[in-house]
Symmetry: C2
Subunit: 222 residues, 2 copies
């Protein structure tokens, strides 16, 4: 699904690692029957290999599989302790995802909106504290946690254009209270491999505008 | 926590891989302050290394960390595709865990009991289908998915002694409708390293009897 942050994780990884791939998008409300032979739950993403003989599913496992398959272009650290810390950091940062979906629901429903916004802001505050250098990798360049969490932040960026009284700025996203995250977001967003795996902002904003009304158009802008 | 299935995952792995370790149990309702310096959420398990300088948390990550740290005694396959399939299989089998907690709630509350039991039976039926050989490893001996899912099945075994009209047999657990799982459970349960990382049945049953009444005694039987 073109606007799915979990599918985008696989696209970014394939792009950064330069793995040749073909992308097949599906309609998430009218899933084709054949897709369940690729992913038993019918969720995205699924990676198909060897002309359909092999499948790897789930947004965090596909990048780890790429790590094992192509160690020469590894993004995860080879040191066991640093490696597991990147995976744990990603899970911690992923608190932004459920907070995003809750805040999105509040776009057209003021009930509980303040609490939902506050939970999303809290996820950003936690991330701002966890970002001790330029990147979540702890290195001079982006790593596993940076690439994989970026799509979730991009969804909040899109949302910041739509949300009534958005707690985030769409100009200098996420805003002046998050100086490290703002620099991080700007840097990640401008990396060619990440941009190549992203939908343009106007597409993302347009898609979510419909999505929040309960009428998502998965072909938006095509 | 002595009866926690997630903590037991780490114990089983340390036992099978023969990693010398000291176990510190904590009281889950009155968590000691110091524990939050080991695990930011205060959950179990946490693995402490290098005299407190390093920590690895989460029940699936500790075994994977052991894999990277001690590859000579690896339990996960070294083939990238087989390895990722074991991890995905574990996540699929882990559907038993939320179904277990829902069924446990039904012990003292008949409302919705049938549906909750049905969901747990469904998780067992799915697992019975996924068990195509003797083990979930697909090999002649237990692997990653076998060791890590065993504690969750053991909790259902304990529960089968307590639940009113239990859909599972505590004699030939899980019962005659699950011939492959029954053999699998008996085999895993009798492995010395697994037994060494397990509480005796009477302890587990006694603990859960109190737990279901809302008065868990984490020191039960001590």
């Amino acid at each position: 699904m073109r606007f799915c942050p979990w599918a985008q994780r696989a696209l970014i990884y394939a792009s950064v690692k330069n793995v040749p791939s073909e992308v097949i998008n599906i309609h998430l409300k009218e899933k084709p029957d054949w897709y369940f032979s690729k992913h038993y739950k019918g969720q995205v993403p699924a990676l198909e290999l060897d002309e359909g003989k092999k499948h790897v599913i789930e947004s965090a496992h596909i990048p780890e599989y790429f790590y094992d398959l192509f160690p020469e272009s590894r993004i995860l650290p080879s040191d066991p302790y640093e490696k597991v810390q990147q995976k744990l950091l990603l899970e911690r940062l992923a608190a932004v995802a459920p907070a995003f979906y809750a805040a999105a629901q509040a776009a057209n429903n003021p009930e509980g909106r303040d609490e939902k916004y506050a939970a999303l802001v809290k996820a950003f505050e936690d991330a701002e504290k966890l970002l001790t250098g330029d990147f979540f990798s702890g290195k001079a360049k982006p790593g596993f946690a940076d690439y994989l969490i970026f799509p979730n932040y991009q969804r909040v960026f899109w949302l910041s254009h739509i949300l009534p009284n958005s707690p985030f700025s769409s100009e200098s996203f996420p805003g002046p209270n998050f100086p490290k995250l703002a620099k991080w977001y700007r840097t990640l967003d401008s990396i060619p491999e990440v941009a190549a795996a992203s939908q343009p902002t106007e597409m993302g904003v347009g898609f979510f505008n419909d999505y929040l009304k309960g009428t998502p158009n998965y072909d938006y802008g095509l």
